[in-house]
Amino acid sequence: MPYDPRLVQPMREELTEIGVQELRTSADVDAFMASKTGSAMIVVNSVCGCAAGKARPGVRLALESTIRPDRIGTVFAGQDLDATARAREFFGQVPPSSPSIALFRDGQIVHFVPRHMIEGRDALAVANGLVKAFNKYCTPTTAN
């Protein structure tokens, strides 16, 4: 059962206010994933305090990096059910968890941060892991 929208709204805004695109429907997710070039990131947001409370600030910190995904979207687990289910279809054989973060390159998932890699870590540690992945996968390729 979805949570009270009033409870969830500040958690949504923690990401949307820094420009993360909210994906509320499966059609939103399809449109977001339609481009198969460049890099993209989907943050699976959640109410879970022990992990999501570190994931959102971690994402905010990571997005201060000069190298970052071309497109950044978010779905809200337990709230936007269809959008979350559709996003997880793009994650392939990765088991569902929330919060979690998926990074794509040219439409293919290349890096995944499951919930257990967020639990017990602070925002800086989450951010450092993401920045490392950004540096690996989001650097624009150059033609030889």
Partner: protein, 93 residues
């Protein structure tokens, strides 16, 4: 792989690996842990050697991706438990 001896307040809500003295190893979200039992939610279990994978192989894969929920809740008697560690503390390949 260090063992935690903390109470519920420490591991409640945390995804853990529960290795047993037998062939089974569990991964799930710790609901409670005391001297009598470990209670996991949204858990998966692997038996050593199943599908050609050792306990360590399976746990390392779980550490990289997570696990698919096969049980809503499982209670593991403490006498069968060899160790309880955070899944996030295990280095994935």
């Amino acid at each position: 792989m260090g063992t935690f001896h903390h109470g519920r307040s420490e591991l409640h809500g945390i995804t853990v690996v529960v290795d047993t003295r037998g062939p089974k190893v569990f991964v799930g979200r710790c609901d409670d842990l005391d001297e009598h039992e470990v209670i996991l939610l949204d858990a998966d279990v692997h038996e050593d050697g199943a599908n050609g994978r050792s306990k360590n192989d399976w746990v390392r894969e779980a550490a990289r991706w997570g696990v698919w929920k096969k049980m809503d809740r499982v209670v593991i008697p403490r006498a069968e438990v060899a160790s309880v560690v955070r899944l996030g503390d295990i280095a994935a390949d």
